[in-house]
C-alpha cells in the first residue's frame, strides 16, 4: 500500500568518509566511514525513524540529507510537490538557499542550538531573512503566527533563550524550523534531552504540526519506545550501514536482522511484569575507521557463519517494503519485541 505513496526523498548509495590522521606524526591518512553506502526512500507525509547506537551514522545521514555535509559519494534526490526531481548534491550555493525553504532541521540539544545573544523573535525570524522569504511587516506576522502554533506566547518573543526551560527551548527550535513552512524536517533526537512530562508535549506537538502542514519527518532517536510511538517506518543503522528497514510494527515484532533482534530484546518496557531478556552482543562496537570485513556486524553476531566474514551482504527487499542486509535473513527465526 505504501509503495503507491509518492516519494519525497530518494537516497542512493550515500557515503560520507571523514579523514583522520593516524600513526607516527599523523603521516598515515585514514577515514572514518561514518556513512557507508546507504540507500532508501522517504515517502511524502510519513515519519521515518532512524535508530542505532551512538556512532552508527544516524546524525551524519540526517545532515547529508540536507547537504549539511558534502557527501563522499551518492545522490539525494528530492521530489518536491509541483517541481522537477532535484538532486541537491548538484545545486549551486544560490540554489541551495532556495532549497532550504523546503527542508529544515530540529536539533537535539535545546541549550546549545539557540544563539544566546539573539531574542526568540530574531531566532525564529532568521530563516525568513536568510532565505529572503519575507520582509518588514511580513516577517513579524510569520514569526507570531508560527510561535503561536508552537504554543509560545507573544511575550516570549522579546526574551532571550536563557529565560526558557528545555521544553520551551525545543518549541523555539521547532518554530525556527517551521517558519518557512518546509515540506521536510530532519528531527535529530528532538526529545532525548527533555524530561518525561515535557517529552510527551513535544511529541504531541510534532504530530499535530505534521497533520496540519502535511510535513514529512526523518526522526533520529535512540529511545525505541519513542520511535515506535511516532514513526510509520523505521530504519536500523549499524556502523555506517543500514541493516534493516520496515514498517514500525513489522520491524518491532518480526525483525529480520540479528542486530535488530538484539535491539528489540534490550528495550526496558515500563511494565514490571514484562521482564526483558536481552541478547548479549559479543564484544563492542568496532571502530568505523577499520570496520570488519564482510558484514560489519559479523564479529558480534551469534548466527554468524564463514560467509559473513567474507562477503558484504546485499541490501535487498525480502518482502514488500521490508529491506534487510543479511545473508541468512530467510532462514533465521528471529524473535521480535516480547511485550
Amino acid at each position: 500500500m505504501r509503495s503507491e505513496q509518492p516519494i519525497l526523498v530518494e537516497v542512493e548509495s550515500l557515503r560520507k568518509f571523514f579523514p583522520v590522521r593516524r600513526g607516527t606524526f599523523g603521516f598515515t591518512k585514514k577515514y572514518v566511514r561514518a556513512v557507508d553506502d546507504v540507500s532508501f526512500v522517504i515517502y511524502r507525509g510519513e515519519t521515518l525513524g532512524l535508530v542505532g547506537e551512538s556512532g552508527s551514522g544516524k546524525t551524519t545521514t540526517g545532515r547529508l540529507l540536507l547537504r549539511g555535509y558534502e557527501p563522499t559519494a551518492g545522490k539525494v534526490v528530492y521530489h518536491l510537490p509541483d517541481q522537477e526531481a532535484l538532486d541537491i548534491m548538484t545545486l549551486t550555493k544560490k540554489q541551495l538557499w532556495e532549497f532550504r525553504k523546503h527542508a529544515q532541521m530540529i536539533f537535539q540539544d535545546p541549550y546549545s542550538s539557540l544563539n544566546p545573544r539573539m531574542t526568540v523573535r530574531d531566532i525564529i525570524a532568521e530563516p525568513l531573512i536568510a532565505t529572503k522569504s519575507a520582509r518588514g511587516e511580513d516577517v513579524s506576522r510569520h514569526v507570531i503566527e508560527t510561535a503561536k502554533r508552537c504554543q509560545l506566547s507573544v511575550e516570549h518573543l522579546r526574551r532571550y533563550p536563557h529565560a526558557f526551560s528545555g521544553g520551551q527551548r525545543q518549541r523555539i527550535g521547532i518554530a525556527r524550523a517551521l517558519v518557512l513552512r518546509p515540506d521536510f524536517i530532519v528531527c535529530d533526537e528532538p526529545v532525548s534531552a527533555l524530561d518525561v512530562s515535557i517529552q510527551a508535549q513535544i511529541l504531541n506537538l510534532l504530530r499535530d504540526l505534521q497533520a496540519e502542514f502535511g510535513l514529512t519527518y526523518l526522526f533520529i532517536a535512540h529511545d525505541l519506545s519513542v520511535v515506535e510511538h511516532i514513526c510509520n517506518r523505521v530504519g536500523v543503522m549499524y556502523l555506517g550501514n543500514l541493516v534493516e528497514m520496515a514498517a514500525t510494527q513489522e520491524l518491532f515484532y518480526h525483525p529480520l536482522h540479528p542486530y535488530t533482534e538484539a535491539l528489540m530484546s534490550s528495550i526496558p518496557e515500563a511494565n514490571p511484569k514484562v521482564k526483558m531478556r536481552p541478547i548479549k552482543l559479543k564484544g563492542e562496537i568496532p571502530s568505523p575507521i577499520d570496520p570488519p570485513s564482510g558484514c560489519a556486524f559479523h564479529p558480534r553476531c551469534q548466527y554468524a557463519q564463514a560467509l559473513c566474514a567474507e562477503v558484504k551482504p546485499e541490501w535487498r527487499e525480502l518482502s514488500p517494503n521490508h529491506f534487510v542486509s543479511c545473508h541468512f535473513a530467510e532462514s533465521l527465526q528471529l524473535s521480535g519485541f516480547a511485550g
Binding site: S165, V196, A270
Partner: protein, 342 residues
C-alpha cells in the same frame, strides 16, 4: 530513632537548601525514604526534583553552598565499632570531613556517577584509581589490592582485565568505563550502592547489559542499591520498591508492582501515561502533563504538584500541605484526593 530489622538506611524529613545570590533554593523539602537490606530502591523524578541531592546528602558531598537544614539520615554501619557489631549512625549529624564519614564513604556507601566520561581522573590508570579505594579502606597490601582489582574488573565483564588494569580511562569506551565505575564502587563490598543515572548516557544494548550486571552483583554481594533515574522502563526492570519525587519531596512510594499497576498520586499516574509504551494500546496522542516544572526559587504553597494537577481540589490543594495516606504493603501517597482512613 530505631531502624526496622530489615532496613539499611532511613532518611526522614531531610531538608537541604542552597543559599544563592538570587534567592534560596529549597532542593530537598522534607524527603522521607528508606532502603531495605539487599533490595533495590528506584528513585524516579524529573530534573530538579532533588534525586541527586538526596544521594549526595547520604555521602555528605552536597556541592557548595548547599547545606542540610533539618532531618535525619540513619544508616546501619559497622564503622567505628571495635568488635564489628552494627550500630546506627545519623549521617546528617556527623562532620562531613570526619574520619568516620571518610570510612563510611566508599567503605560502606559507594556511588556510581552519571557521567562515566568525566568521573575518572585522566592522569591515573584505572587500576590505580580502583585499588586506591581498597588501600584507603581495607588493610591490604598493594599487590593484593591489584589482584582484587583485576578480579573485580573481570567480575564486571571487562575482557583482558590483567592488561586493561594498566590502561587510562580514555582507552575505554563509554560502556566499559561504566563497568569500571561499577567495579570501583563495589571493590570494598559496600552495604549500599548508589547509582545516579548509571545508564542514561549508554546505548540500549549496553544499558541492558549493565542492568543485568547490577542484578547479578546484587545477588552475589548482597548490597542494597539506590537506583536513581528518570527512565520508568529501567525502573520497572530493576527495582523492588519505587519512590517518586517531585520538587524536593517524595510524593509516592510503594512496591514496583503497586506503583505501575495501581498508582495513586496524580503525578505518578500522569508520568506513566506520558511515556510511550510499546506493548500498550496504540494511541495517537500521549497524555502530556501540562505546564512546566516551576522555578526552583519559588516553592509553591500547598501541594507542590497542584499547578499542573488535573485533579486539583480548589481551596485545598493550593493552601494546605497534603497528608500522607497509606494504602497497605508500604504503599503511600502524599495527596488530598484520598480519605484519611482506608
Amino acid at each position: 530513632m530505631q531502624l526496622n530489622p530489615d532496613e539499611l538506611i532511613r532518611i526522614s524529613n531531610l531538608k537541604v537548601t542552597f543559599p544563592l545570590d538570587e534567592g534560596t533554593v529549597r532542593a530537598l523539602d522534607g524527603v522521607n525514604l528508606s532502603i531495605k537490606r539487599g533490595k533495590v530502591l528506584g528513585v524516579v523524578g524529573e530534573s530538579g526534583c532533588g534525586k541527586s541531592i538526596t544521594a549526595r546528602s547520604i555521602l555528605r558531598i552536597i556541592p557548595d553552598p548547599g547545606k542540610i537544614d533539618e532531618g535525619e539520615i540513619w544508616l546501619r554501619t559497622t564503622v567505628g565499632s571495635s568488635d564489628g557489631s552494627e550500630r546506627m549512625v545519623d549521617l546528617a549529624r556527623i562532620d562531613p570531613n570526619s574520619e568516620m564519614m571518610r570510612q563510611i564513604r566508599w567503605g560502606e556507601v559507594a556511588m556510581v556517577f552519571q557521567e562515566p566520561m568525566t568521573s575518572f581522573s585522566a592522569y591515573h590508570t584505572l587500576g590505580d584509581q580502583i585499588s586506591e579505594a581498597l588501600l584507603t579502606h581495607r588493610h591490604v597490601s598493594k599487590r593484593e589490592a591489584r589482584q582484587r582489582t583485576i578480579e573485580m574488573l573481570e567480575r564486571v565483564g571487562i575482557p583482558n582485565a590483567s592488561t586493561r588494569v594498566n590502561q587510562y580511562p580514555h582507552e575505554f569506551s563509554g560502556g566499559m568505563r561504566q563497568r569500571a565505575m561499577i567495579a570501583m564502587a563495589l571493590i570494598c563490598n559496600p552495604s549500599l550502592l548508589i547509582a545516579d543515572e548509571p545508564t542514561t548516557s549508554l546505548d540500549v544494548t549496553i544499558q541492558a547489559q549493565m542492568l543485568e550486571l547490577m542484578q547479578n552483583l546484587r545477588q552475589d554481594f548482597g548490597s542494597s542499591i539506590m537506583f536513581i533515574t528518570h527512565n520508568l522502563g529501567v525502573i520497572a526492570q530493576i527495582a523492588d520498591e519505587v519512590s517518586i519525587m517531585y520538587l524536593g519531596k517524595v510524593v509516592e512510594h510503594g512496591r514496583v508492582g503497586d506503583i505501575f499497576n495501581d498508582p495513586k498520586h496524580p503525578y505518578t499516574i500522569d508520568l506513566l501515561n506520558a511515556i510511550p509504551k510499546i506493548a500498550g494500546q496504540r494511541k495517537d496522542r500521549l497524555v502530556a502533563i501540562e505546564g512546566n516544572i516551576p522555578s526552583p526559587f519559588e516553592r509553591v504553597p500547598g501541594c507542590p504538584f497542584h499547578p499542573r494537577c488535573s485533579r486539583m481540589i480548589e481551596g485545598l490543594c493550593e493552601t494546605q500541605a497534603p497528608p500522607e495516606i497509606e494504602f497497605g504493603n508500604g504503599h503511600f501517597a502524599v495527596c488530598h484526593l484520598y480519605p484519611k482512613i482506608i
